[in-house]
């Protein structure tokens, strides 16, 4: 099982990372991490945009869904029928389902492992024959930031960006929906601060290369939502 995982996910991602680094100035591994992250986000972009639009529409009718649940508490058939009608009336067509989420998880884990492996010279033995093997890995991002080591400053930056991303998302997801109950609003406000703090605490002790990945993917999310907001 772990072998299959290595062959179909981990090794290809690691090879892609080293391959991309060969195009970067000074074989900069940090730039390669950013590039690989952007490529993966671009692959998932169509699904991601559809899912977010669909989720926003669902959030907007949240109170109506609850009303139907309460109204037909004991009649499942009626409950289901009313729900489907509500979806139809609001043009909601949920995309994809659970399985794509389950598929994404191993990809994400493999990506983390590939980044960590990319920061260690001994993992070069995993390279495919057609990927040119570098003599050494350049873990000095932009010539001054060692991404194999820890970097608290980068962790703080990731946390701050995470805060803005979460805030932006919250306003997008609820923009057209009815106000949440005060209790829910309070929990949401707590989460708004909890998430960035968690990112900082985790990022503080992780290699800066992983934090760089998180910063890139967060910035990508911000851009994506700016686009969604403008085109809603």
């Amino acid at each position: 099982m772990s072998n299959i995982f290595k062959i179909i996910l981990y090794a290809p991602l690691f090879n892609a990372l080293i391959f991309l680094s060969s195009f970067m100035p000074n074989r900069d591994l940090g730039l390669a991490i950013i590039a690989l992250t952007v490529v993966i986000r671009l692959i998932f972009l169509p699904l991601s945009m559809k899912a977010q639009r669909s989720q926003k529409a669902l959030n907007a009718i949240g109170p109506k869904i609850q009303a139907i649940k309460d109204k037909y508490k004991n009649d499942r058939t009626a409950q289901g029928a009313a729900m489907m009608q509500l979806y139809k009336d609001n043009n909601i067509n949920p995309v994809a389902g659970c399985v794509p989420i389950l598929i994404q998880l191993p990809i994400l884990i493999a990506l983390y492992q590939a980044f960590i492996a990319g920061l260690k010279p001994e993992s070069l033995s995993m390279l495919y024959s057609f990927v040119p093997s570098p003599e050494s890995l350049n873990t000095l991002f932009l010539g001054f930031l060692n991404i194999a080591g820890k970097n608290p400053l980068l962790a703080v930056l990731a946390g701050v960006l995470q805060y803005f991303q979460a805030k932006q998302s919250m306003s997008y997801m609820k923009a057209s929906g009815a106000g949440a109950s005060p209790q829910v609003a309070a929990i949401n406000a707590q989460m708004l601060y909890f998430l960035p703090i968690m990112i900082i605490v985790l990022g503080w002790s992780l290699p800066a290369g992983l934090v760089l990945y998180w910063i890139t993917t967060t910035v990508f999310s911000v851009g994506e939502q700016m686009y969604l907001k403008r085109n809603q």
Binding site: F44, L47, S48, A51, Q52, S54, Q55, L58, N59, R76, T77, G80, A81, M83, M84, P94, V95, A96, G97, C98, V99, P100, I101, L102, Q104, L105, L108, Q165, A166, S169, M170, M173, K174, N188, M191, L192, L195, W214, T217, T218, F220, S221, Q225
Partner: protein
Amino acid sequence: MRIVKFLLTAYRRIMNNLRLFQVPGLVYTPCRYYPSCSDYAGLAIEKYGFWRGLTRSLFRTLRCNPLSKGGIDFP
């Protein structure tokens, strides 16, 4: 049974937050089926007991893919 209920509630809370904040890294796809897989699991375990309920929930989760039509599906 109580542990299962607790886990399902915790899962729902976490998913709600991940969806609301769209925490980067994953694409959070909304439910195709009604009730959602986690609600289904709760109902199925209530109806069939732990193991059979769990197995049914597992197959329901696998049914929830881009090829399925979704819709109403109670255990």
